[in-house]
């Protein structure tokens, strides 16, 4: 396993080295400064403002900012829903796929507009190139940009000395897409293509295999979507098996590149935050808290997967590492990634809200499968989704400051601003909405026959699948214990018919929308309420939030909130399986 640990450590060092670079660049983009790409992209930016008829300097208060986001997301949703429903009459559809049914399209549109990318469909058997590009790739970009824009607004609220303006949403939307997401995606897409990720508009190709059969390869404009799928912590695969498929993730170089793309923005935003509030230590403190929780997650899943599964042990399959084989639970994993890269990927994509997979999560060991569930159970604050991870974490920071204040009997303050009753109430709304949605939706899904028809595995794994589905959708993650189905492909085994299950698609869609926008609005409201507050200079009695003590407290609060909420549910599913060798 030493080889695996070294891979993981080196990866984390590379990431950490890039954080200040990317973080200060994003800070410049947030502030509206000229950046090195301005000579090229400046004219496009100005053209965009003319088309949108907005003045970039015109500040919005939190309500106006939130309203712009809600309206923009609503228009995005309608556009995507229409595109999905009219696929059969659109161009670039070489396989001649039909239009999506209403309930599945509801789920998919909600999924991509909320940056979730939960998929109740298999891309290569359902969607045309046109829908992948014009529908999904666009939402991969803009839903990510919305998350980052909200964070920009929230940071401005924390940093403001007076007034109520949090910036201009339209300007943030344009600048984040133009200066951050688009250039990195373009370069990344070409790097991926150079390694074997495909990028073509040709239809599928069929040939005779050397053992005397035939094979048909689905093709498409994959790399351009793959790049933003990772960079925007979206995660929706062009292919049904996502980043396990060699045309999405060709080798260990592309695997590392994609992992870096997933983490780079959410990790760097901690630095951006520190820089913009004028306290870089504060940024690093948040980074440290996230990294600490992340390292534990990786370590647990790696050890669990290396141990192998009861199904293997009962069958007498060797799981020990031998010369020329890693051993371990290789079910649903690719040889080129092995246990270490699959484990690292599983942790990275579930601490962030990326949800891409390079291995089958349904076949993880009990404890291995507990890790992604627990990662999401924290509310995706360990790096989290682009933008959303940090604004959610900032809610936890305020909660920690409040609890610490109660313990020592002082008025809680953060960055010199007093945290009062209004902020704490909003924080609680923001922090509790998502877990409540998870528990409510899961309970409904396992208690009703409409819900249980989605379940694939027997025993506790069936419960885990249900819990995972709503945990993932509520936290806008998008990864799945993929046996859980809402729409079985017509030509896949266990076909439930070509109709989508309305229960699963509608409940999931509603959960994704509520869990995306309610905490987002709460975070903006907190920022709006903080913006006008005076900044008091730190005194001898100030409880510093950039100290190691605070990092420990913050981790404690995050873990305790998640544990109190989800411990019973975890016991019923993954923990039972981790503790028993019994088969079901």
């Amino acid at each position: 396993m030493a080889q695996g640990w070294v891979q993981i450590v080196v990866f984390l060092l590379v990431l950490t080295a890039l954080v200040p670079l990317v973080g200060s660049y994003i800070a410049a983009v947030f502030r509206g400064d000229r950046v090195f790409l301005s000579p090229v992209l400046g004219p496009v930016e100005r053209f965009a403002y003319r088309v949108l008829r907005v003045r970039p300097g015109e500040g919005q208060d939190w309500k106006a900012y939130a309203r712009s986001i809600v309206v923009f997301s609503l228009v995005s949703w309608l556009a995507l829903y229409l595109i999905l429903r009219t696929q059969s009459i659109q161009p670039l559809n070489p396989e001649g796929f039909g239009s999506g049914p209403w309930n599945l399209s509801f789920n998919t549109a909600s999924s991509f507009v909320t940056n979730t990318n939960w998929q109740y469909y298999g891309g290569e058997t359902t969607l045309s190139y046109f829908v992948q590009m014009v529908g999904l790739t666009v939402q991969n970009f803009v839903s990510a940009a919305v998350g980052i824009a909200v964070l920009a607004a929230v940071i401005r609220g924390f940093a403001a000395r007076s007034g109520s303006a949090l910036g201009n949403f339209w300007s943030d939307l344009v600048r984040i897409n133009l200066y951050v997401l688009l250039p990195i995606s373009f370069i990344a897409a070409l790097v991926l293509v150079s390694q074997g990720v495909i990028q073509t508009l040709d239809g599928s190709t069929t040939f005779n295999t050397i053992a005397g059969g035939t094979q048909t390869l689905a093709l498409g404009p994959v790399a351009s979507q793959e790049a933003i799928k990772e960079l925007g912590t979206n995660g929706g695969g062009f292919f049904n098996v996502n980043s396990a498929y060699p045309f999405e993730n060709a080798n260990s170089l592309t695997n590392m590149a994609e992992l870096l793309l997933i983490l780079i923005v959410p990790a760097s935003l901690t630095y951006t935050f520190g820089r913009m509030v004028g306290n870089r230590r504060q940024g690093w403190a948040l980074y440290a808290a996230m990294m600490a929780m992340f390292v534990v997650a990786v370590a647990v899943v790696y050890v669990a997967e290396q141990h192998g599964s009861p199904a293997q042990h009962h069958a007498g399959v060797a799981t020990a590492s031998i010369e020329g084989s890693t051993g371990g639970n290789m079910e649903g994993k690719e040889q080129r990634f092995g246990i270490a890269q699959s484990s690292l990927w599983t942790a990275v994509t579930t601490v962030t809200s990326c949800g891409a997979v390079n291995a089958s999560l349904d076949s993880l060991t009990g404890i291995g499968g507990l890790v992604p569930l627990a990662n999401m159970g924290t509310g995706e604050v360990v790096f989290g989704g682009v933008g959303s991870g940090l604004y959610y974490m900032l809610l936890f920071v305020l909660l920690t400051v409040f609890i610490a204040g109660l313990m020592v009997g002082r008025t809680p303050e953060f960055l010199g601003k007093k945290i009062e009753s209004r902020e704490v109430k909003l924080v609680l709304v923001g922090v509790l909405v998502t877990p409540l949605l998870v528990l409510f939706a899961t309970a409904w899904a396992v208690a009703s026959p409409d819900g249980t028809q989605s379940i694939y595995n027997h025993g506790p794994q069936g419960f885990s699948e249900s819990l995972y589905a709503y945990m993932s959708q509520a936290n806008n993650n998008g990864s799945a214990f993929a046996g859980y189905t809402g729409f079985v492909q017509p030509n896949a085994p266990g076909n439930g018919g070509s109709e989508a299950f309305s229960f699963a698609t509608l409940l999931g869609g509603v959960v994704m929308i509520l869990a995306r926008f309610l905490p987002m609005i709460a975070a903006l409201a907190v920022a709006g309420s903080l913006a006008g507050k005076r900044i008091a200079p730190a005194g001898a009695g100030t409880f510093r939030a950039d100290s190691p003590t605070f990092v420990v407290l913050l981790i404690g609060v995050v873990v305790i909130v998640a544990a109190l909420t989800f411990f019973p549910a975890f016991l019923l599913g993954p923990v039972v399986q981790g503790l028993t060798d019994q088969l079901f």
């Binding site: 309206v71 599928s204 009861p310 051993g327 994993k333 076949s363």
Partner: protein, 198 residues
């Protein structure tokens, strides 16, 4: 209401503008550059033999248990390249355990004819578990070394020659550090067929 109406107009023009930029210009420009600079990989890394496409370097094939070929990993999709899905059975699944037992027995039966001492403990995990993609192009080095005896005997080749071909078609780790080495089964079998073995 005024602000709301203004937002609706702005949002609509924003979606149109961003769709043109990110949904059409970006993927098309990327496709153009990719096709120009990386024509091989952007179209699927196809392998041709005598002008005929026989497969993709990145996509495994079903070698149908033919003794003269190295065999890839078990697949939930029969190596489908256009309908992909996982096996999706959980870690405590009886069905999965039975599947493993079946795969292990079949593997031992096939290889023991050429290597009577082969024990269950020698069979590496990748040989009896389904891959994630269903088209894993690789097998582990340990798996290939076991199968090399059979291929060498069936093809009447010296074992050393076959093992040399195995290492030749092993894709190493990135920077000798990341990922796991894997033997590309299609390329190896093509090399054996193509007379590289002689």
């Amino acid at each position: 209401m005024n602000g709301l109406r203004r937002d609706l107009v702005t949002a609509t023009s924003a979606i149109v503008f961003l769709t043109l930029l990110l949904g059409i210009a970006y993927p098309l420009v990327t496709t153009g550059v990719a096709q120009l600079v990386f024509p091989g990989t952007s179209n699927g890394s196809e392998i041709e033999v005598d002008g005929e496409v026989v497969g993709s370097k990145l996509i495994g094939q079903d070698f149908k248990g033919l003794p003269r070929y190295f065999q890839g990993r078990p697949s939930a999709t029969e190596y489908s390249g256009n309908v992909t899905y996982f096996n999706n059975l959980g870690p405590n699944s009886r069905e999965l355990s039975d599947f493993f037992a079946e795969q292990l027995a079949a593997y031992l039966k096939r290889e023991r004819r050429y290597d009577p001492d082969l024990a269950a403990a020698d069979v590496p995990a990748d040989a009896v578990t389904t891959s994630a993609s269903g088209v894993d192009p690789h097998i582990s080095e340990a798996n290939a070394r076991i199968q090399a005896r059979r291929v060498a005997e069936v093809r009447s080749l010296p074992l050393d020659r076959v093992l040399a071909l195995v290492s030749e078609h092993t894709d190493g780790r990135f920077l000798a550090l990341f990922g796991e080495p894997g033997v590309n089964v299609l390329e190896l079998n093509l090399a054996l067929d193509g007379g590289a073995a002689k």
